[in-house]
C-alpha cells in the first residue's frame, strides 16, 4: 500500500515475513537522463542503509534495515509506529516543545560527533514513538563528513525547516535544538559551527542587512 509518494522515493507499507515493513522504492524519474537517474538512485540506495547503521552505532534510533536491492533501488526496513514530529510539534506546550527539540539536538549532535550528516533534517523525517523515542528516518541524502561547512549546512537545513513549517516558534525551537547539540559536541565546536551557519546565511541570496 502506497503511504507516501515523495519526490525522491515512494514509501509502501507492506507485510514481509510477518513483519510490518516499509518498502522504500526509488522509481526511475523520467525527467532526467537514464545515466544520471541510475547513478543517483543506486548511490542513494547504497548509502542510505550504510548511514542508518552508522547512526545506530552513534546511538541515534533508526529503523532496522531488512533488505537492500541496489539494481531495483529498493530498501525494505522496519515500520516505525508513531507520529511525525512535524504533526505534533505545534500542538505541544512550550515546555514540551523545548524538551523535544533539545532531545532532537542531542541526537543530531550524536550523528555529527560520529561524522554522519543526515542531509535532510526536517521535522517530517523524525518520528515520535508512543514511548517517547525519536527515530530519525530518511537517510537518502545522508553523507559522511566532519567539516564545519558540512555540519553547518546540515543544521542550517533544520533551522530552515522550522522557519518554513513551524514559523511561529522557529527561533525558540532551533535554539532548543542547539542546547541539546552543544551538550554532545561541546561549546567550542558548537560556537564554530554557529559561526559557520551565520556565514552560510550571509552567503545565501539576499539576507536582509539587519540579520547579517
Amino acid at each position: 500500500m502506497l503511504i507516501k509518494k515523495g519526490a525522491e522515493a515512494s514509501l509502501y507499507l507492506e507485510e514481509w515475513h510477518n513483519h510490518k515493513v516499509i518498502m522504500k522504492r526509488r522509481l526511475p524519474k523520467k525527467y532526467r537522463l537514464p545515466e544520471i537517474d541510475m547513478e543517483i538512485r543506486s548511490q542513494r540506495t547504497v548509502q542510505e542503509p550504510e548511514n542508518i547503521h552508522r547512526a545506530k552505532e552513534a546511538g541515534v534510533p533508526t529503523p532496522t534495515v531488512f533488505m537492500v536491492d541496489v539494481v531495483e533501488a529498493n530498501i525494505i526496513m522496519e515500520f516505525i509506529d508513531g507520529k511525525q514530529v512535524k504533526q505534533v510539534l505545534d500542538s505541544l506546550s512550550s515546555e514540551e516543545k523545548r524538551s523535544l527539540c533539545r532531545y532532537i539536538g542531542e541526537l543530531i549532535g550524536r550523528l555529527h560527533s560520529h561524522g554522519i550528516l543526515h542531509g535532510d533534517l526536517t521535522t517530517s523525517n523524525m518520528i515520535l514513538t508512543p514511548e517517547g523515542r525519536v527515530v530519525f528516518v530518511d537517510f537518502g541524502l545522508s553523507g559522511l563528513s566532519t567539516e564545519l561547512e558540512a555540519r553547518g549546512v546540515d543544521l542550517h537545513l533544520m533551522k530552515r525547516a522550522f522557519q518554513s513549517t513551524h514559523y511561529k516558534h522557529a527561533e525558540e525551537s532551533f535554539a532548543a535544538v542547539m542546547k541539546g547539540y552543544v551538550e554532545v559536541i561541546g561549546e567550542e565546536l558548537t560556537e564554530n559551527i554557529l559561526e559557520k551557519i551565520r556565514e552560510i546565511e550571509g552567503r545565501g541570496r539576499y539576507i536582509s542587512r539587519e540579520e547579517r
Binding site: 525527467y31 532526467r32 537522463l33 544520471i36 547513478e39 542531509g119 552560510i200 541570496r205 536582509s208
Partner: protein, 339 residues
C-alpha cells in the same frame, strides 16, 4: 487630490542589467512594458556601468511606455518601483526616477519586492492561482510556495544562482552574447548538439542547491580539452536542471499545490521546461511557464504588484523609500493572497 476611478499604475524595474517601465490598469490589463537591457562589453554586470545605462535610458523608456499605453501622465495614480533585492547603484537609479515621478505627479509611491513581483506577474499572465514557483535567473534560484501570508522559501541556492552558473561557464567557453541571444540561449543551443554525458557533481542538500562545484567542474572539463564544448554544455544543463527539478518536485510533494510556475530568465530554456512539465504531470499539477517578456526582469511585474500592494495601503513615503539590497522574498507580508 481627487482622482477618477479609472487610473493606472506605473512600475519601474531596475534591480540588475535591465531598466524597464510597465503600465497596468487596476484589473491587470498590461498597457505597456518597455525594456532596455544593458549589455556589458565583456565580463559580468558592472553595477555602476549598468546604473549609468539606466540613468541614460530612463527618460526615453518612460516616454515610450506612455506612448505604448496611450495614456497621459495624469492618468497614472500610483508609481511602483523595485525596492530590492538587487544591485545597489541600479536599484538607486530606478528609485530616484520613481520618487521624482511620484512627487511630480503628486501620487503615492509603492516599494515592491522584485521576487514577489516575478511570482505575481507569473500568476497574472498564466492564470496560476496557488503554485509552487521555481524562479531561476542570473541573480536568483528560489523554490517557493505561499503559506500563511508569505511566499515561503522551500529551497534556494547556497552559493551562486543557476543563471550565473550558465553565464560564467559561457564566458569561460569564450562565447559572446548579443541582443536577443543571451548566454543561456547559447548554452542551450550548444547543448542540443551534445551527445555524451560527462559526470559532473550533483549537489542537492535537502531542499537547497549548490552550483559552484558544478561550475568549477564544468569549466575544468572544458579546459582539459578532452571534451567537445557541446557535450560539456549538455552535461552542465542536464545536471543543473535535474537538481532544480528534484528540489521543485520535493516542494510539490510536500505542499501538494495544484500548479508549478516556472519564471525568471532561465525559464525560457526548453529542456528545463520539459523536465518540470514532467513532474507537474506526475503530481497532477498544472504546469505554467511565464512567457519570456514577463519572465525576464520587467516593469509590468512591478506595476502589477504595485497595484496589489496599493489596494492594501502598502505605500511608502518618499523619505523612507530607501532601497533594500538584500530584501528576501520570505520577509514580505503578502495580504492580497488568500490562504
Amino acid at each position: 487630490m481627487h482622482r477618477s476611478a479609472m487610473s493606472y499604475c506605473l512600475g519601474i524595474e531596475s534591480t540588475a542589467d535591465d531598466f524597464s517601465v510597465g503600465i497596468l490598469s487596476p484589473e491587470g490589463r498590461i498597457l505597456a512594458n518597455v525594456i532596455s537591457a544593458y549589455i556589458p562589453e565583456g565580463g559580468g554586470i558592472h553595477p555602476r556601468e549598468a546604473a549609468r545605462h539606466h540613468a541614460e535610458v530612463a527618460g526615453r523608456v518612460l516616454a515610450e511606455a506612455f506612448r505604448e499605453a496611450k495614456i497621459e501622465r495624469e492618468d497614472v495614480n500610483v508609481v511602483a518601483f523595485s525596492q530590492g533585492p538587487g544591485l545597489g547603484p541600479c536599484l538607486r537609479t530606478g528609485a530616484t526616477a520613481a520618487r521624482a515621478l511620484a512627487s511630480y505627479l503628486g501620487v503615492p509611491l509603492v516599494g515592491v519586492n522584485h521576487c514577489v513581483a516575478h511570482i505575481e506577474i507569473g500568476k497574472l499572465v498564466t492564470g496560476a492561482i496557488d503554485p509552487v514557483a521555481l524562479y531561476v535567473s542570473g541573480g536568483n534560484t528560489i523554490v517557493s510556495a505561499f503559506e500563511a501570508k508569505k511566499y515561503r522559501v522551500f529551497g534556494e541556492t547556497l552559493d551562486i544562482a543557476v543563471g550565473n552558473c550558465l553565464d560564467v561557464f559561457a564566458r569561460e567557453a569564450g562565447l559572446r552574447q548579443g541582443e536577443g541571444m543571451p548566454f543561456g540561449a547559447m548554452v542551450e543551443k550548444l547543448a542540443s548538439d551534445g551527445e555524451t554525458l560527462i559526470s559532473l557533481p550533483y549537489t542537492v542538500k535537502g531542499m537547497d542547491l549548490s552550483f559552484s562545484g558544478l561550475l568549477t567542474a564544468a569549466v575544468q572539463s572544458l579546459h582539459e580539452g578532452k571534451h567537445r564544448v557541446e557535450d560539456v554544455c549538455f552535461s552542465l544543463q542536464e545536471t543543473a536542471f535535474s537538481m532544480l527539478t528534484e528540489v521543485t518536485e520535493r516542494a510539490l510533494a510536500h505542499t501538494e499545490k495544484p500548479e508549478v510556475l516556472l519564471t525568471g530568465g532561465v525559464a525560457a530554456n526548453k529542456r528545463l521546461q520539459s523536465m518540470l512539465s514532467e513532474i507537474a504531470k506526475e503530481h497532477e499539477a498544472k504546469f505554467c511557464v511565464v512567457p519570456k517578456e514577463y519572465a525576464l526582469d520587467n516593469g509590468a511585474m512591478i506595476a502589477w504588484t504595485g497595484i496589489l500592494a496599493y489596494r492594501h495601503n502598502m505605500t511608502v513615503p518618499v523619505e523612507k523609500s530607501f532601497v533594500r539590497l538584500r530584501w528576501r522574498l520570505d520577509e514580505v507580508y503578502v495580504p492580497w493572497v488568500e490562504g
